[in-house]
Symmetry: C2
Subunit: 155 residues, 2 copies
Amino acid sequence: MKALTALALCCGIALSTPALAADKPEDIIKARQAAYQFLAWNTHRIKNNVDNPTQFNKDEVVRAANAVQAVANAGLGALYAPGTDKGTGYGPSRLKADALNPANGAKLGQIATDFIREANAMATVAATGEVAAVSAQLDKLRGTCKACHDNFRNK
Amino acid sequence: MKALTALALCCGIALSTPALAADKPEDIIKARQAAYQFLAWNTHRIKNNVDNPTQFNKDEVVRAANAVQAVANAGLGALYAPGTDKGTGYGPSRLKADALNPANGAKLGQIATDFIREANAMATVAATGEVAAVSAQLDKLRGTCKACHDNFRNK
């Protein structure tokens, strides 16, 4: 379980906490899909603000960026339990089996580390209220999303 | 739109931001359902820890409580746009029309204010790592969830 361990370590959570022991795979998949959908809503709000600079709403961007940071640091590794590449939450899981393959542990761990670092930076940059800086940081953050999708999510 | 205004004010977000202007009702409902599902995952993790005090994982509780706080402060009022009591996101919306009725603005605003206050307190209490205090604060937080469900969510 090297891949999972890497995710667990970089997300700072033990995989065998009591919180998950009784959870069914479909519940875990649903929670995972909800976490990333909530994340997408927040990055979408930041994007719409940088795309409409004359209406830039710093308060909204800060709230959204803080939410992004909290999702990234929530311990999402717990939502990559064995077997959850198959099954249905809100819809069929799009997670590739590769994501749960120990051989990919280092690669997955690096992507997760990058994601958390850029999400933390997103919150810091949002607080400055500087549109260009927020836009640049959003690009960095989305790059880490894309790295995971390209490698570990089915189309 | 007094009800929406109250929610918007207490959640600190304008309802007519560019971020939402182009969003379809089903996208808003999906984002709302995801936000509360992610919230539920996090309160669930806190509950499992207080229910298993010998395995209490302070790190997990802190991460979950910080996520709860970020969701509560994300500006969820934006997800209660007119018409979103009907329609389907991941599933049919369970929001009662009453939630979007201006006559219920004060009531809804109070529930939202209570929710945000208790979510902020949840993060503060989690950081102490005191199981009994975390348990008591979780009860307070869940009381505000129940108040909204009892009044504004269909069974």
